[in-house]
């Protein structure tokens, strides 16, 4: 469970009030106990299924220091951020940084997931702990986190894809638009099946679709708009929660979807708020809202946002969204042939970039301050770059992800900062040379070049 959760939830922000009930030292003590338990089981089974011993000792030392320093919940992010600088030799700083990031993710999980916290308290049992009693799974979003097989989807929930719209401006069904030779609906279902236990497609009464590994339902009454689609999808779902999407969005973002889904525990709906609008067709709904949706259909109220006034709504703001999806590509939908062409172009660029990334890519984080932060509407962006990447590559990649920075923070050529901005690496060195290499774990700060006050 932990591995998959980490890669999908690593950027999850924390609600301030949830921080107050839990101290980092408490979580770190539990993680230390989990390390001890894992060590014990490993020795007992006489095989090594846990991370290598160097990584374990780095983690153990980090946790012990956290328990000793006892930083406040509000200061723990920063404590972890600075830890590699103050506690690592230069040759091991990469490994220490990586471990600090892992602990940060575990800290965040401990806040956001009751099940993870319970798992931790019970000593982080592994999947082959045969002599341990299987624990009762509380009803929750997470599916079988005790058995983190890579073939199992992550969420014990349903993905609903609405294909029943008219596509009148496109001139042909949007669900069948081809990307890399396959209909878009095939790509969407494939991606969603990796994340959700069940996929439901809601189609118009006479709509033709390819064979798909999903449950197909049809609108009982055609063209009742998104409220109708959501209603029929939720009605067909076997789970308690549904992530609902339209079918004309080529760039679903698993990290963002995971985040949205993870927030449903205390709400009836988790809905992004992007460019001053709710995005009801990229939201997670609790199936208990079905009666309210029925009422809306009966009254002819075909706009989903009428629902949000009546239920516990988690509105996810832009700055949170941008942490996972800086450009908001999740909401880029296609209505016209020109939109489709543009999406094809972007698809091609993204997939070319992805294919250049291999397991030896450089992962770094850009932290934005001042005007850069206000323009980008986010504090930081994670980047994955090729080996031997330089600061220039960082700026280019950043320019691609956050075009609003071009001209104001990054030069129009996209390979340097403008003269009013400066770059600092890891909070230590101000670096002017854009050909300076970047290492995995580096934090690249972009701030004003003038510190006058």
């Amino acid at each position: 469970m932990a591995q998959r959760a980490y890669c999908l939830l690593k950027t999850m922000p924390i609600a301030k009030d949830s921080l107050q009930s839990l101290r980092p030292a408490d979580v770190c003590k539990a993680l230390l106990a989990a390390l001890d338990a894992a060590d014990g089981r490993r020795r007992k089974r006489k095989r090594d299924q846990t991370p290598d011993s160097i990584g374990l000792s780095i983690k153990r030392e980090l946790l012990e220091n956290a328990v000793r320093d006892d930083p406040s919940p509000e200061a723990f992010d920063e404590w972890l951020l600075n830890y590699p600088t103050t506690h690592a030799e230069p040759e091991s700083s990469g490994a220490v940084s990586a471990m600090a990031r892992a602990v940060l993710e575990e800290w965040r999980l401990a806040h956001s997931l009751e099940d993870f916290r319970v798992w931790l308290e019970r000593g982080a049992p592994s999947d082959d702990a045969k002599d341990e009693k299987p624990r009762d799974q509380p009803g929750g979003v997470w599916k079988d986190e005790l058995n983190p097989s890579s073939d199992q989807p992550l969420f014990n929930a349903t993905a609903v894809v609405l294909t029943g719209g008219k596509s009148s401006r496109m001139g042909r069904p949007k669900a069948l638009l081809l990307f890399d030779g396959e209909p878009l609906i095939v790509h969407l279902v494939r991606a969603l099946k990796r994340m959700f236990a069940e996929t439901v497609i809601v189609a118009a009464p006479d709509q033709e679709l390819p064979d798909l590994p999903a449950t197909l339902v049809r609108d009982e009454v055609a063209y009742q708009g998104p409220v109708g689609g959501i209603y029929y999808g939720l009605k067909a779902a076997s789970g308690e929660f549904c992530f609902v999407t339209s079918c004309d969005v080529p760039f679903l973002n698993p990290a963002l979807i995971s985040y949205l889904t993870s927030q449903i525990s205390h709400y009836d709906v988790v809905v992004p708020f992007w460019e001053n609008r709710f995005q009801p067709l990229h939201a997670v709904y609790r199936t208990t809202v079905l009666p309210l949706l029925k009422g809306q259909l009966d009254r002819g109220e075909l706009r989903p946002i009428y629902l949000f006034d009546k239920i516990q709504t988690c509105k996810v703001d832009e700055d949170v969204i941008r942490r996972f999806d800086p450009e908001g590509l999740s909401f880029l939908n296609m209505n016209t042939p020109d939109d489709y062409q543009r999406a094809l172009q972007r698809w091609s660029e993204l997939h070319s970039a992805a294919s250049r990334m291999d397991d030896e890519s450089v992962s770094c984080t850009v932290e934005l301050f001042g005007m850069a932060r206000m323009l980008a509407k986010t504090k930081m962006v994670d980047l994955s770059l090729p080996q031997q990447a330089t600061l220039s590559d960082v700026f280019s990649e950043l320019a691609e992800k956050l075009p609003t920075l071009v001209g104001r923070v990054i030069t129009p050529e996209k390979n340097q900062l403008v003269s009013g901005c400066a770059c600092n690496v890891n909070g230590l060195d101000f670096v002017r040379n854009p050909t300076a290499k970047v290492k995995t774990g580096d934090r690249i700060l972009i701030l004003s070049a003038d510190a006058g006050g």
Binding site: S72, E74, A75, E78, N82, T85, T86, E367, F369, G370, M371, R373, M374, R408, V418, S419, G420, C421, A422, N424, N426, G427, L428, D429, F430, V431, R432, L445, L447, S448, A449, D450, A451, G452, G453
Partner: protein, 599 residues
């Protein structure tokens, strides 16, 4: 003369005499206007060893050659006196319409001596001077005073610089304020209060001549254009408050009286957050294209200006994390006319003393780190010298001397001036700049921190190269403060001395070169040092508070970095060498000759 009127005004408040005299061109050629002229006049007019609150301590207001030329950021004036906080030179700048109107009176400088028998204000209209009764203005804030005087004199064209209650009560870090701006540091307002002078009102129509108006206009247009580039983006679009998040991230944001170098709750106070949640509007000084002022909405719906130093000093330095408390504290500082940095620094000292049991009254007053009510209550108490406020009104140095014991180690000042929001242990060039500045711990009389942010030096390491950097930065600042050009424009010049020399020449008609301008900066700075030496400066006055040398950087990036006495001493020695002074920091005879400061 071009650029100057060539006239000085002397006012003796004791007997009400006023006189004007010629301002020699040789003086302004050597020292320009602004703080250069002010330093030169102070050196000549202040008797050696004068007590700051003595009637004989001159309070000098100065204009400058670029004022009124339409060049961006030049609407500024200087205030120079002997500081009651440090006992050394007290030089301060303020801005905007008062500066323009001061120039229009036809005087380049006003030297005020004596003490009026009762509270008065001065009204200068063109070259006519009146000393008017001001008892009815006692206790009023500077803004209220301004409004009252304008109404009384029935002229909206009049501009007023005034003290608040703090100045009247000789709070040692009281300011002189005009249009919401302050000649802020060193207690120039207290000197004004000691003279029973509530305000100076000015009005005039005398423009100084410009030697080559067409060329000056062309330069003005070019400078205006450059002032709107990315180089000033921070100032134009977020303000100096942008520093808070950055400094916290770099581990150079002093908090809890320099016991920490990061502040856990900085996010709520950051410029980015304030801009999103509380921004009201943007404003600027007269004649300024940058317009760096940010006003934020406070809880009661009023607008309050906030700059980084105020945010730091009344926020993290005192452990305060709530923006509304900081805004209210800033409002009170404006209302009473006190320097926000020295206020915050003195309060933080009191908080630490209270926490550690040396000052029980602090706790009774509510002065504890992070407690808003203590800060809010303390500022009026300081301004009126009530209760504990009477001790705090003396500034942290004197208060610590009075309290004694370990409290001396917790008073974070240099020469009596409280430290600004740049943690010296994480900014080693700045550490040197703070230690050696004639003004005390000042972030404006040099831009020493610029080296630390440039990447050209390792900010966490001390080395002997910093002496040259600090000296050059001081000279640059001295020239900017005497032309006068705002420091926020400094990055917009490609070769400042050449461009500045041409600009000066086209205004004044002088044939000024870049080298001459550089030398003028050295001369101005050296004269400040000479004044200090005359007034009792000793080598040990160029140093930093004990905490910065005893304790390593406590939190954040660079945690554990220390600044040792040996390192500081080495840097100070390198600075004296760069200046051509002896190894005790005294100006040499050769230096005097080189800079034509003989006599």
């Amino acid at each position: 003369m071009y650029g100057f009127h060539g006239r000085l005004l002397q006012i003796d408040l004791t007997n009400g005499h006023t006189s004007s005299s010629e301002l020699e061109e040789s003086r302004v050629r050597a020292f320009l206007g602004g703080l250069g002229l002010g330093t030169s006049l102070l050196y000549d007019y202040a008797p050696t060893g004068v007590e700051p609150f003595s009637p004989d301590n001159p309070l000098i207001l100065t204009s400058a050659p670029l004022v009124g030329t339409g060049l961006t950021t030049t609407a500024k004036f200087g205030v120079v006196t002997k500081s009651p906080l440090t006992g050394f030179i007290g030089d301060s700048l303020s801005s905007s319409h008062f500066a323009l109107e001061l120039k229009r009176t036809g005087f380049d400088g006003i030297v005020i001596t004596g003490r009026a028998p009762s509270l008065v204000y001065i009204f200068i209209s063109n070259q006519t001077v009146e000393i008017r009764e001001a008892e009815h203005l006692r206790g009023k804030s500077p803004r209220e005073t301004e409004a009252a005087i304008k109404a009384e004199l029935d002229s909206p064209a009049i501009r007023v610089a005034a003290i608040g209650a703090a100045g009247e009560n000789r709070v040692r870090f009281a300011t002189i304020s005009n249009e919401g701006r302050h000649a802020g540091r060193g207690g120039v307002g207290a000197v004004m209060g000691s003279k029973n002078l509530k305000a100076v009102a000015v009005c005039g129509d005398r423009d100084a001549r410009v030697f080559d108006p067409d060329r000056v206009n062309a330069i003005a247009s070019s400078l205006r254009h450059r002032s709107l580039s990315s180089l000033t983006d921070k100032y134009r679009n977020i303000g100096t408050v942008a520093n808070l998040a950055v400094f916290n991230r770099l581990g150079v944001l002093p908090a809890h009286n320099f016991q920490q170098s990061t502040f856990a709750d900085s996010d709520a106070l950051s410029g980015e957050t304030l801009s999103e949640t509380s921004f009201a509007r943007r404003h600027g000084c007269a004649s300024c294209s940058i317009r760096c002022e940010r006003l934020f909405k406070s809880l009661n719906g009023e607008e309050q200006r906030l700059e980084y130093e105020t945010l730091f000093a009344l926020g993290p330095l005192c452990g305060i994390k709530d923006p509304d408390t900081v805004l209210e504290a800033a409002r009170l500082c404006d209302l009473y006319g006190v320097d926000t940095i020295s206020t915050g620094g003195t309060l933080a000292w009191a908080m630490e003393c209270g926490e550690k049991g040396l000052l029980p009254e602090a706790e009774k007053f509510g002065l504890c780190f992070g407690r808003p009510e203590g800060v809010i209550a303390a500022i009026p108490a300081i301004a009126t010298r009530t209760g504990l406020g009477a001790l705090l009104a003396e500034g942290s140095k004197r208060a610590a001397l009075e309290l004694g014991g370990d409290s001396l180690d917790w008073a974070m000042h240099v020469k009596g001036l409280e430290l600004p929001g740049y943690e010296p242990r994480g900014l080693k060039t700045m550490a040197l700049g703070l230690a050696v500045s004639p003004r005390g711990a000042c972030h404006n009389r040099s831009g020493a921190y610029e080296a630390d942010f440039s990447g050209a030096v390792d900010r966490l390491r001390a080395d002997p190269s910093r002496g040259t950097l600090v000296a050059a930065s001081e000279d640059f600042a001295a020239v900017l403060d005497s032309m006068i050009i705002c420091k926020f424009l400094r990055k917009c010049f490609t070769d400042f001395y050449s461009e500045g020399a041409e600009l000066l020449s086209k205004v004044t008609g002088w044939d000024c070169t870049g080298n001459e301008l550089r030398r003028i900066g050295q001369r101005i700075h050296t004269l400040k040092k000479l004044f200090n030496i005359r007034e009792g400066w000793r080598t040990e006055d160029d140093w930093l508070p004990p905490r910065l040398l005893a304790d390593a950087l406590p939190t954040g990036v660079g945690r554990g970095t220390s600044l040792t006495p040996a390192e500081l001493n080495e840097m100070i020695q390198s600075y004296y060498q760069a200046r051509g002074w002896d190894n005790r920091g005294f100006v040499s005879a050769e230096n005097l000759q080189e800079l034509s400061l003989i006599g």
